[in-house]
């Protein structure tokens, strides 16, 4: 079946998933971050008893509500796609996805929906303290929901805590905590939420800057900027640390992704970090269009080695080491991994045929062989390589990776400087009214979204061709459905999501126009 696979089906299915995930991610980070900013503002209100903080809290709560309402359930479509477009994959992952997603569903439903109701309906009906607790629980609940989704994503990047059962063709969880607390999951969660907090802080500063530019609701805008700038500064600093942790995790679990995001073709000891670079249009390797030469680059010696392994002189494998192998550093060649992957597939086939023929004894023997530690370690861990027909398929698009990664890092650095400058203005009691700064603050909002999306491009394009690292490439995961059907739904989604986005922006702009004192209340 795989030999007859139409690659355009894989590409369209990937494009559809990417479109859905990217649109979904437009809504999520603002929800994650704004929920905490609102909770902080309400805490100030409860502690000081000042009504203006209540007004401020209610205004941002309203924008949170709009974003939440438009974005809620957009992620469910991804689950539909698993069942239709990626059926082999969704079966193969077994309960690994089911458990975290079920926890996420229960948590989201009970924590978020219950306390969101108190948050919006309860201002005059519950005590101040209970209302505040509800607001904090919405923030904690929505962030914990994100944790379980990211656990599922992290497992695809680094499958741990499971054993593959050849009888059912499913992975079975052997240790829940290995899955739930894998370093990949923890790092991914911390980096994702901290960067979302930065995005939300930028959103609050940017919208508040608009009020100052329009010379209206000045006290409200300044108060909002103070909270958001402090929150944004602290989370920006933390995002750099969590990003560092994530990079180290990628370097050890996904060396090809790491090499691609730095455009490192040939491995080096004491490898330098390319702080800035541009690719030429010519290929470094004429047979692989994903490998381009740099025309210009600024390299900081040894930093990449330190970033990857906390050792200035450590060896960082390049793309070619991972393809051709490197005996000195114990790196298997891609050809060898493909050979081992094919052996694993062949063994699974033998098992299937024994099962089909009803030969119980042979079936048991083969199952025992397949699930033995030695076979798992030597062969099954390369199972997915057995589907690879050309080693070039193992290399992600290097320029796209490099530019996405460097754009994300550069913007992350800019956001930190931005918050430092805002705090400087606040501490020095200097006017925030400078028009250039207000314009900059507004235009930083789309840049925050750009950085957030670029981060996901790094995470997801960088792990290609794998849908599950080393175990299952996209071509083995995809369902054999018609490409035309995927194309139709791709455009359908494009229309539905674009409509939702337009609705969100229009409603939000309208409410921002009404201002904190509002028209139509705060519900």
């Amino acid at each position: 079946m795989i030999d007859n696979l139409d690659m355009s089906l894989v590409d369209w299915s990937r494009a559809q998933f990417a479109l859905t995930a990217m649109y979904h991610w437009i809504f999520v980070p603002l929800t994650l971050g704004l929920s905490f900013i609102i909770a902080i503002m309400e805490t100030i209100y409860v502690r000081t008893g000042k009504e203006e903080w209540k007004t401020t809290t209610k205004f941002w709560m309203k924008l949170f509500g709009i974003n939440f309402a438009i974005g809620v359930a957009t992620g469910i479509i991804l689950e539909f796609e698993f069942g239709t477009n990626w059926s082999n994959y969704s079966w193969f992952v077994g309960d690994i996805f089911g458990a975290p997603l079920a926890i996420e569903g229960i948590m989201a439903f009970f924590m978020e929906t219950t306390f969101i109701a108190v948050m919006f309906f309860g201002w005059k009906k519950v005590s101040k303290k209970f209302h505040l607790i509800s607001t904090w629980l919405v923030a904690i609940g929505s962030n914990l929901s994100a944790y379980w989704i990211l656990v599922a994503n992290a497992w695809m990047q680094q499958p741990v805590g499971v054993t593959f059962n050849p009888e059912t063709a499913r992975n079975e969880m052997t240790n829940f905590w290995d899955v739930a607390l894998s370093p990949m999951a923890v790092n991914k969660f911390l980096h994702t939420i901290s960067s979302s907090y930065v995005l939300a802080a930028i959103f609050v500063v940017g919208v508040s800057a608009w009020y100052i530019m329009k010379k209206r609701d000045l006290a409200f805008a300044r108060k909002s900027i103070i909270v958001a700038a402090i929150f944004g500064f602290l989370t920006s600093v933390y995002t750099i640390f969590s990003g560092d942790g994530s990079a180290r995790q990628v370097a050890s679990a996904q060396p090809m992704k790491f090499a691609a995001l730095e455009g490192l073709y040939k491995g080096q000891e004491g490898a330098g970090l390319i702080a800035f670079g541009f690719f030429s249009t010519s290929e470094s390797d004429p047979e692989n269009e994903n490998l381009k030469d740099f025309t210009l680059k600024l390299e900081i010696p040894n930093v990449l080695s330190y970033m990857a392994f906390l050792d200035w002189d450590a060896f960082v494998p390049g793309v070619k080491d991972l393809i051709d192998g490197n005996k000195k550093h114990n790196i298997l060649s891609a050809e060898e991994k493909i050979r081992r992957g094919k052996i694993a597939i062949a063994k699974l086939r033998e098992f299937k045929e024994a099962k089909k023929s009803g030969n119980k004894e042979l079936e048991t023997t083969l199952k025992n062989e397949f699930t033995s530690d030695a076979f798992q370690k030597e062969y099954f861990r390369y199972f997915g390589y057995g589907y690879i027909t050309n080693t070039d398929q193992l290399i992600p698009h290097v320029p796209l990776m490099f530019y996405s990664f460097h754009l994300m890092v550069a913007l992350g650095g800019y956001f930190l400087l931005f918050f430092v400058y805002v705090l400087y203005l606040i501490i020095r009691k200097k006017a925030i009214e400078k028009r250039w700064f207000l314009r900059l603050a507004i235009w930083t909002i789309p840049l925050a979204y750009l950085a957030s999306q670029a981060g996901w491009v790094v995470a997801e394009v960088g792990r290609q061709p794998w849908v599950i690292q080393d175990l299952m490439p996209t071509m083995a995961a995809v369902s054999r459905i018609s490409t035309g059907a995927v194309q139709v739904t791709f455009w359908l989604f494009a229309v539905v999501f674009t409509t939702l986005l337009i609705a969100e922006v229009r409603i939000m702009v309208k409410q921002i126009g009404f201002g904190p004192k509002g028209k139509g209340g705060n519900k």
């Binding site: 079946m1 795989i2 030999d3 309203k62 509500g65 709009i66 309402a69 438009i70 809620v72 359930a73 957009t74 469910i76 479509i77 539909f80 796609e81 069942g83 239709t84 059926s87 082999n88 969704s90 079966w91 193969f92 109701a117 919006f120 309906f121 309860g122 009906k125 050849p166 009888e167 059912t168 063709a169 499913r170 094919k342 597939i345 699974l348 086939r349 299937k352 057995g386 589907y387 027909t389 083995a476 369902s479 054999r480 459905i481 059907a485 139709v488 739904t489 359908l492 539905v496 939702l500 609705a503 409603i507 409410q511 139509g520 209340g521 519900k523």
Partner: protein
């Protein structure tokens, strides 16, 4: 028992009054409901069947089908 009943009534009233007094919330709920309708009654029903659940009756059949897909001749 009466206290429990009273609590449920209060929670029920809390939601009813909350929904009644919504302004912007009504528009947002309309969007949510429309979105859910499109998702579950159009997309899910007509475009996104769960292939394994639709085409096979038991988990064993589903497992065998995936096993077949995973082990069918690749590029040897």
């Amino acid at each position: 028992m009466a206290g429990k009943k009273n609590l449920f009534v209060r929670i029920f009233k809390f939601y009813v009054e909350g929904f009644r007094s919504m302004t912007l919330g009504k528009t947002l709920w309309a969007i949510i409901l429309l979105k859910l309708f499109i998702m579950f009654f159009v997309l899910k029903l007509f475009f996104f069947p769960n292939i394994l659940k639709t085409n096979f009756e038991t988990d064993e059949e589903r497992g065998d089908h995936v096993l077949e897909n995973l082990t069918s001749k690749t590029n040897e």
